[in-house]
Amino acid sequence: MQALLAAAPALPLHEAGKHVAGAYGVFVTLLIVYVAIMGAKVARIERDLQALAELVEDREL
């Protein structure tokens, strides 16, 4: 890992670095927010499915 980092070119993280980090950060943040919302939706579907399965089981008993 250290050899890889030593071989890698130095990144000029001064003024431009902030802008580049900002641009990539915006994309990653949007992605994380979207995935989190989708995760919450999938969790709700799972809960609903469980409730439905319990309802079916109760009726069969």
Partner: protein, 213 residues
């Protein structure tokens, strides 16, 4: 990301800030393709009457809108770093993308203002086809317009990317397209599951009184 930061050379003209190109341009291309795909799915919906095509169209447009937000944000950051302004109103590329974005911002309010599901799907499909046809027309019109400050990289005459930059760009484009496709599939699966669950519950609730009596 490794290719962007450690393989692609630093641009001689813009310097390190040019690295935004590898996220901004693929996002813009994928967002525009997503809107066109939404139009194609809408054509399929009107042809077949199958509601699944409408759902595919809706999810493609919805995701492209989210990608559009990222395009505008990354573009503004790049503009501030390169040109010293967050937004340049005289630049056709920027304004045309904003127009397309705002056009699609009206899609969801229009769609959900119609309560009848069949009518909602049909009207939304007509909107998606019309707006989807506008996207390539708009793109060609902008290419023909005289650019003020926005660079033209993919042309036949000048400004060709060197090999390492081109490879990095193509890998970034593929990565963003794969992210789009994965998220599209995820949202589609989630919406289908949710719809089926609602339908099952309705059927079950309809049967309960019959079983009781």
């Amino acid at each position: 990301m490794a290719l962007v930061f450690f393989y692609a050379p630093i641009d001689a003209d813009q310097g390190f800030v040019q690295k935004i190109f590898y996220i901004h341009v693929p996002l813009a291309i994928v967002a525009l393709c997503g809107w066109v795909a939404g139009g194609v799915f809408a054509i399929q919906h009107l042809r077949t009457g199958d509601r699944r095509w409408d759902l595919r169209s809706y999810v493609a447009i919805h995701l492209s809108l989210i990608f559009g937000v990222a395009v505008l944000a990354t573009g503004s950051i790049w503009a501030k770093a390169s040109w010293g302004h967050w937004w340049v109103w005289g630049e056709p590329t920027l304004v045309s993308f904003l127009i397309v974005f705002l056009l699609y911002c009206t899609y969801q309010p229009m769609r959900f203002s119609i309560s009848d599901p069949g009518k909602q799907a049909r009207y939304a499909s007509v909107f998606a086809i019309t707006a989807g046809a506008f996207v390539p027309l708009n793109f060609v019109a902008v290419r023909l317009a005289t650019p003020l400050v926005h660079p033209r990289v993919f042309t036949r005459v000048a400004g060709q990317l060197p090999g390492s930059m081109r490879l990095t760009f193509l890998v970034s484009l593929l990565a963003v397209a794969l992210i789009f496709t994965t998220l599209w599939k995820l949202e589609l699966t989630s919406k289908n599951a949710s719809d089926q669950l609602r339908r099952l519950r309705r059927r079950l609730e309809e049967r309960v009184p019959a079983g009781v009596s």
